[in-house]
Symmetry: C2
Subunit: 429 residues, 2 copies
């Protein structure tokens, strides 16, 4: 075993960073054995140096992250700051000064992954980011290595723990969205400003990363259709139950049936209770991967939290250090397929639509005609009358999102349709 240590710079020392530092210290011997050389925490860049950081030598702490990554003797930079800047500049500078990088930064990878991979490649360095998607769950490595000889057709997953906690709570207690969100906030599962989670920006970034790797195609954050889950109601859950379904916020990356294009989207959807994703509880994450040869695989585990995310970061750190000792690099960006990313209108799936309609003869015929005119085939209809009003629940066969949108637009123009109470996609069948 080499005795000269590999030098690691840690950018950020919050919930994840402090766990990374702690494990690097407590498991130093194991890490050295597994890597083939000791690793040394050489510097820790933080914003607030005055905060006490248990177990971290105060002499390592600096507020000058740029100077740290420019030292020139750093082997690996671990970036757990998050956000676009200064993370992006620091990572770029790290590559330019000879370091490899391990990052947990989904937003940055989703937005600028291609550019960062290019800089890494230019300097012959690694960029690893297992922790950016689904916390501790090994997902990036299985997709880009284990399934490297297979053809992935679909990735379907729960990749945001906060929203899964909220939806699970609504499902199990009948609570409304706000009540469930309040509980998630009180328990620390939701942040004070929950926008990134509940409006699905976080899940969309992960979908972009997963789709890119799964399909060997650049998928940018802007390519991902995004719909949050703030408008999911207790009534939606009641409807889902009647169909033998529950509601999950799903990230769905699909290859078109003809193989010529891909789509990526994030939205709430009904899935059958018999689907393994339906029983993913609390803040857990789980991702289904469907491929030609392997068939259906599922990966399940904690999708967030300091220690789980640190586990993923350290797995990458070991791999990157091994590569370093080998004088090699791991797999870089693989975007050779360069498939077009189709817009949401071309996505084909099933829909559950609740309409408030006038309770009089002929309404169903009118509604059915509109669906037919737009080429959307109806699977089931359920009509319920109440006080002169009625509700009509339509579940369709598979149709394109564009056809469905056209149908809904036309339905809204009908005099007999008082309102469209909800539209939800039905997945996982």
């Amino acid at each position: 075993m080499r005795t000269r240590p590999l030098k690691v710079a840690l950018l950020g020392c919050g919930v994840v960073g402090s766990e990374v530092a702690r494990i690097m210290t407590t498991h130093a011997d194991d890490l050295a054995q597994r890597i083939g050389a000791p690793v040394e925490l050489t510097g820790v860049a933080v914003r607030r140096p005055s905060r006490v950081r248990e177990g971290i030598d105060p002499g390592l702490v600096t507020t000058d992250a740029t100077a740290l990554v420019k030292r020139g003797d750093i082997d690996v930079v671990v970036e757990v700051i998050g956000g676009i800047e200064p993370a992006r500049s620091l990572i770029t500078t790290a590559f330019e000064h000879g370091a490899s990088v391990v990052s947990a930064n989904k937003a940055l990878l989703a937005q600028d992954g291609a550019a960062l991979h290019a800089v890494a490649e230019e300097h012959g360095r690694d960029l690893y980011y297992e922790a950016a998607v689904a916390g501790a769950i090994p997902l990036i490595r299985p997709l880009r290595e284990s399934l490297a000889g297979d053809k992935v057709n679909r990735v379907l997953g729960i990749v945001n723990g906060t929203t899964n906690f909220i939806l699970d709570k609504m499902d199990s207690t009948g609570a409304g969205y706000q009540e469930a969100l309040d509980e998630a906030t009180a328990l620390g599962y939701a942040e004070a400003d929950p926008t990134a989670d509940v409006e699905a920006f976080d899940a969309a970034a992960k979908a972009a990363i997963l789709a890119g790797i799964a399909f060997h195609t650049r998928v940018r954050l802007d390519d991902v259709y995004r719909e949050g889950m703030t408008e999911v109601t207790a009534a939606d859950f009641a409807s889902a139950k009647e169909m033998g379904c529950t509601i999950k916020l799903l990230a769905i990356c699909e290859r078109a049936a003809d193989g010529g294009s891909v789509t990526a989207r994030v939205h709430p959807a009904m899935i059958p209770l018999s689907h393994p994703l339906a029983s993913v509880r609390g803040a857990y994450n789980a991702v289904f991967v469907e491929s030609d040869a392997a068939g259906q695989l599922m990966f399940y585990g904690p999708g967030a939290g300091g220690a789980p995310t640190a586990s993923a970061v350290l797995g990458d750190l070991v791999a990157v250090c091994r590569n370093r000792l080998n004088g090699a690099t791991g797999p870089g960006e693989s975007a050779y397929a360069a498939l077009p990313v189709s817009p949401m209108g071309e996505v084909v799936t099933r829909y559950h639509i609740s309409l408030d309609v006038a309770d009089k003869p002929g309404v169903l015929a009118q509604v059915a005609t509109v669906f037919a005119e737009h080429g959307v085939s109806i699977d089931t209809v359920r009509q319920q009358g109440k006080d002169g009003e009625a509700s009509l629940v339509v579940v369709t066969h598979r149709a394109s999102d564009a056809s469905l949108s056209g149908t809904v637009e036309a339905l809204r123009k009908l005099d007999t349709v008082r309102g469209v109470a909800s539209i939800m996609r039905v997945e996982g069948e």
Copy 2:
């Protein structure tokens, strides 16, 4: 991209080998892009050359596997023959002649993994074997790479599809063992001689491999406690149901609470219906991994079959080829921890014991005294009388296997105990 192809020799062209060859042909362009160089199927060693092999150039087929691996120009040997010999000699010869090896051979890896790794290392070559455990499910790579910075404490899994199919059938239809086995055989899930599956030799080999990787310790097949599932009865399933459990054949690799030793075992066990492994149906496999930082992870998918196993083989092939182009090797054997493997007697778990006893006063007191004398604490007792006889179902708290064995031995000596109808461990709580 390099234009000179990497040369691959395929040993064995049965269910898995023919799928490997097929995918290498149909996905040649993708594989080349992902590796960075084309791969060429240079030779296929088979026992019966007369069998028609669709899509394989007859000019590549040979019966002389030894000559093929001795050619000296082979970059990667893919071994899907199975069994100990000639696979072991061929793999050794392959390393000696400069090739890296991808194998799906669980029996060989469990028995001689350490020796084969040593030869690979001596010659600076890779030995990869993702397909040896749980078919297409990425498990070896996550354990030895993704979790390389974590401390794995437990691996708990369903790693044999044949027995899971049989047990699932018994559970869902109330069928007896023989009836369920017959159906598995008819459907092609069980082989004509099902011994390796139903007596858990197959699962024990996988447990040895998983324990070795998880604990960085050599665990040989002989170190694994093994109990088949041929004696599981419909009555056992009825008992399990009463406890809110089902029965699965589990491979369990554990680190002792003090961290100073490990155990590996394979046996049927009751697990709560609420445990995710309880809902693994048919011939599917699933493995739970518990570690310090990541917490609980689960990996699920098809555990056998030509295409799924080929997917795992090809993932390894891509990795090994990339290493080859990099002039590097991936992680080799990691056995530095060298923890002692404790015998079954030291395993601590819960037990479900059914006794046939005389239906008279004082029997329960006698039985309870025997448990107490052996230091086995009782959780619940259920007594049922029938025609002068009675049955007593005891569920214990956690106790060592040695204490439980002593208890059962003493119970058998009691006049009032007519027989021990079944003993089953209770896991996953």
